[in-house]
Amino acid sequence: MTKRSSVAYLFVAPAVTFFLLFTVAPTFMVGYLSFFKTNYVVSRFVGFSNYARLLQDRAFIQSIGNSLLFALFGLPMRLLLPLWMALRAYAYSERMRNMMRFGFYIPALTSPLVLASVWLFIFDYRRGIVSWLIGLIGLKPVVWFGSQLPAIFAMTLLLSVGGIGAAFLLFTAVLQSVPRTTIDAAWIDGASWWQIRWRVLFPIILPWVLFMTLYLLIASFQIIEIIWRMTSGGPYNSTATMLYNIYETGFVRSAYGMASAKSLVMMLVLLGIAMVKHRLEGGEDRFI
């Protein structure tokens, strides 16, 4: 893998330039701001007091747990399900696969924010389809967004509408890149579809699955738009993700110094999770 390195610099230059401009520089600015109490017009240096105070912020600490709950609910719906379907779909005809891709991905084309209003309607206690269906079975309808777990469940369901499609698309794209020779060889050796799926395909796709898991976890901390529309973080901050809490601190209460401090803490928490995942993988992908 040791090739001439000078060309490599040219290759990475554009991406790195944009990265420096739009990500690194603003991040340093945010870090700088975290030592101030500021609303961008009037500022006061406060040292580490923002960091000290955020440890006592009940809502902030709670948001960590909420975000993990979102991730927990999201795992089966947004990751495992599309994975299983992609593996099964490998055996199907190209036409079938295309139909599935089409069918799964079309819903992903709507933004969750737009679907949110439909969702509120569907899960409405009085007029919603879900309540009507539950009534048909004979159970009592639930006020979906009135408690933490039903609300998180409903919101994860909303995100799955898009998430399933995206994950399915990715997994099938990867699976398709498996050279047919490998499959053919296994087939000739007498392997069943079940064995091919789990012994051959699954190991190939595993790194991607792990990557998507990490991505899902990180994304769960950053769910925000649907929370605006659906629960405003309630009831009592129980569906507020970390980003929602940060958003409220910064943009609603204009406490940008504290919001910056919280953002950095969030980054450290997520980096920690990524590190843990890395260790668990045996640090195999030490580089990539």
Binding site: M1, K3, S5, A8, F11, P14, A15, V16, F18, F19, F22, T23, V24, A25, P26, T27, V30, L33, M85, A89, Y92, N98, M99, M100, G103, F104, Y105, P107, A108, T110, S111, L115, S117, W119, F121, R127, W132, V161, L169, L170, A173, V174, Q176, S177, V178, P179, R180, T181, I218, F221, I224, L243, I246, F251, Y256, S263, M267, L271, A274, I288
Partner: protein, 273 residues
């Protein structure tokens, strides 16, 4: 099992159908209980309202221009950078890679105002440039491409090198065609992501004529509410669904256009012994 999947497809498509169905109903249809699965009365009034009062076509055109420009910039820079990471060894490789990963963890909202300040000092407020450049360093895309590139056997690149192709040539002539599925995936997700962007264009674009589609439609809906007062707020349901349907159309078209790239398979041939 196949049929279970098909059923599942339909289930997933249902909210979409519901949104479109609501967009074609007036207030009575919207509020009717039990819910009208099939609209009893179909009307175009929601769409008429949107089309009459806004610059829909202009906004749609703007969105397409911005997103295409963004894709051009971001695809080329992403693919080049990912190839470099996957294949070459150079100083700072580790550091930059971890910086990319770390940047996933800083939420865009926290950086929003800092980015805005930077853009302002570069004099790019009220232009489309920042929108186009924002996606250029998407860490997710880079990481996906790196993973994909690593699966490509070195032999392919080596044989091309023996044939005398330059490094850049190798990338664009030999390697790129192999990763069409991923490119197709990136094109689609970028289009969808950019079409759904609201906050950043809101901050950046002050001229109504420069607005993107999502910004325009969303602001139209919120302004409709305040302009026509609280009376008729239920009309909003129909209008927001209509707006949502309109926002959904361009990505749909893109998806249909690009799904063929998924058909290209990894070709096992072409490797000289």
């Amino acid at each position: 099992m196949k049929y279970v999947f098909l059923l599942f497809c339909l289930l997933l498509l249902f909210p979409l159908y519901w949104m479109i169905s609501l967009s074609f109903q007036d207030v009575r249809g919207v509020l009717h209980l039990p819910p009208n699965i099939i609209p009893k009365r179909v009307t175009l009034i929601n769409y008429e309202r949107i089309a009459a009062d806004s610059r829909l076509l202009r906004w749609a055109a703007n969105s397409i221009i911005v997103t295409t420009g963004a894709l051009a910039i971001s695809l080329s820079s992403t693919v080049m950078a990912a190839w470099a990471f996957a294949v070459y060894r150079f100083r700072g490789r580790q550091l930059i890679y971890w910086a990319f990963i770390a940047s996933l963890m800083i939420p865009a909202y926290s950086l929003m105002i800092s980015r805005f300040v930077l853009v302002r000092y570069m004099g790019m407020i009220n232009t489309w440039w920042p929108l186009m450049m924002m996606g250029a360093c998407s860490p997710v895309a880079i990481i996906l491409f790196i993973k994909y590139f690593k699966k490509i056997p070195e032999a392919l690149a080596d044989s091309a090198r023996i044939d005398g192709l330059s490094e850049l040539g190798i990338l664009f002539r030999i390697i790129l065609p192999q990763c069409m599925p991923l490119i197709g995936y990136t094109i689609i997700t970028t289009y969808i992501g950019m079409f759904a962007e609201f906050i950043w264009p809101l901050l950046l674009l002050m001229d109504r004529r420069k607005w993107t589609l999502c910004l325009g439609v969303t602001k139209f809906i919120t302004e409709y509410y305040s302009r026509y007062g609280k009376a008729g707020a239920d009309v909003l349901v129909g209008i927001s669904q209509a707006g949502g349907t309109l926002l959904f159309l361009p990505p749909l078209i893109i998806f249909i256009a690009f799904r063929k790239t998924f058909r290209k398979q990894f070709l096992a041939g072409g490797v000289k012994e």
